[in-house]
Amino acid sequence: MTSSLFEVRSLCKSYDEGRIEALRGLDLSIEAGESIAITGPSGSGKSTLLHLLGGLDLPTSGEVLFNGARLGSDVDLDTFRSRHVGFIFQAFHLMPTLRAIENVQLPMLGWSRGGFNRAERAGELLKEMGLEERAGHYPNQLSAGERQRVAIARALANDPDVLLADEPTGNLDSVNTARIMEILAGIQKARGMTLIVVTHENDVAHAAARQIRIRDGRVEG
């Protein structure tokens, strides 16, 4: 039994029938409420690790334990993603046909809860992101920074335990990068969430309390 939020043991992930090894026996422990930056060169396995931590994929071997339960066997991955994880992507990945407030409601639509006002919750989250006036806009009517803030609101919709951000500032200028990192740090502190950010950028990495460097599919150092 472990007290860590995530316990990663001997994690391996290979593609193309084993010809590409993204992770090679990675071990890692993450406590609840930590703020972590995962860094490393391109192809080192950062995003693969994030996908496995977020239950988007299953490892080739090894295991990821969340609160002691093994993802994919003890815990159903869909349920895990819906209730415990919020994703933020570099390319925002908002639905172009939905308004900002509707995009924020998408995770809530996937987890049906009786008597829950999705629009009200989405409105509150957009207000928290400073986007109250932009709630009715479509993604193509928003700036890149605004889109990423909508994506953060969406990631918070189901009140997850963990925020996983894959290069969240990769498509932003320095002003918006600073703002997004400020928002993420604020959320992490205020809600006591675990924040795991994959990044290439030193400024973003240094904002995290703990930095993990990945090289050749293993934790360096």
């Binding site: 996908h51 977020g54 988007l56 994929d57 869909d78 349920t79 993603r81 819906s82 209730r83 994880v85 994703f87 992507f89 990945h93 639905m95 172009p96 046909t97 939905l98 308004r99 407030i101 509707e102 409601q105 998408l106 995770p107 639509l109 996937g110 987890w111 006002n117 999705r118 629009a119 009200e120 409105g123 709630a135 009715g136 969406r154 189901n158």
Partner: protein, 377 residues
Amino acid sequence: MASQLSIAGFVWKNLWRRRVRTLLTLGGIGMAIGAFVGLVGFSRAFEQEWMRIYSSSGTDIAVIQQTFLNTSVDESAAEKLKALPVVALATPMIYNVMDLTTDVNALAYGWKADSYEFKSLQLLSGRTLRDGQAEVMVGDLLAGNLNKKVGETLEIQGTTFTVVAIYHGGSALEAGAVILPLDQIQKLSSLQGKVSTIHVRLRPAPAGEAPEAYLKRAQAQIEAALPGLRAVPAAERAGNNQFVRLAHASAWGTSSIALLIGILGIANTMAMSVFERTREIGILRALGWKRSQVVVLIQLEAVVLGLGGGVLGIGVGWLALSLLAALPETASIVSASFPLRLLPEALGISVLAGLAAGALPAWRAAQLSPVEALRHD
């Protein structure tokens, strides 16, 4: 504050996003359902008109040989039937389809002058025909199309007949038909002494005997008296004669092909939609949507296409039936009333078509790996 996002709203936005493709798909399935409503409605209306012939004349049983168009029943069998205790009236007749003009062909009945069937007709002008005379009675619908009046002549297969009456029949099949003396139609067809069928009206059932049991007993009695012939209840005869069966088979055959094409249209639209939205499906999965929820989303989109096409098709089919009821060539076999029974059937088929068309694309969408889907361009 903006409205709450629902699955239905999400489905609608997805379909409306590519509205030209959605409208074309709706048009495709709409034409298919329209073909179903039009063709099956036509064949059902045809069957109903046949039933009206029997019900309006009070015929309980039709005595036939084996098949509907086989005019090889001996006319003399009518006399044997009249001698049976269950039989009140028996009248021999011939049905045929004859060319009246180059454009119009119509049902031609051969009746004897004393046939009880005349009582079901309403004479609008003239008198009933006489045996052995070159006389013809014309249904009002047909008379209108041919512009014929009493006293004028009508040439049928090379013989000139005098129009002695314009009548209104209980069925569109009668209103659009001609009635000739039985002997005249036998002469035209070189079938002297032969008839298509003998219509029988039974005596009332004895007290205490159920109508169904009485009908069965009468059938058995007739068939025992006339070996080689069949006694068929009127309702069965209306729905199971070769004209009606042919109409049903053609209608279902043609509309099945149209429906198959419509289903393939929806399937193609949904398959393209799933392919184009691969990344979006990956996003939904990343946001915690289950495979089953993705299946429901895609299937709902397909069902909405099917149902929308169904509503459109019902309108198209209704228009087609109205047109057929108005055209001189088909007015005699289709009444203007829309067969309401077709509505739930058409809508049910539309939903099933949507589900069938959406099944494979939905399954494919559900099988997508979230990571692979997110990488999709």
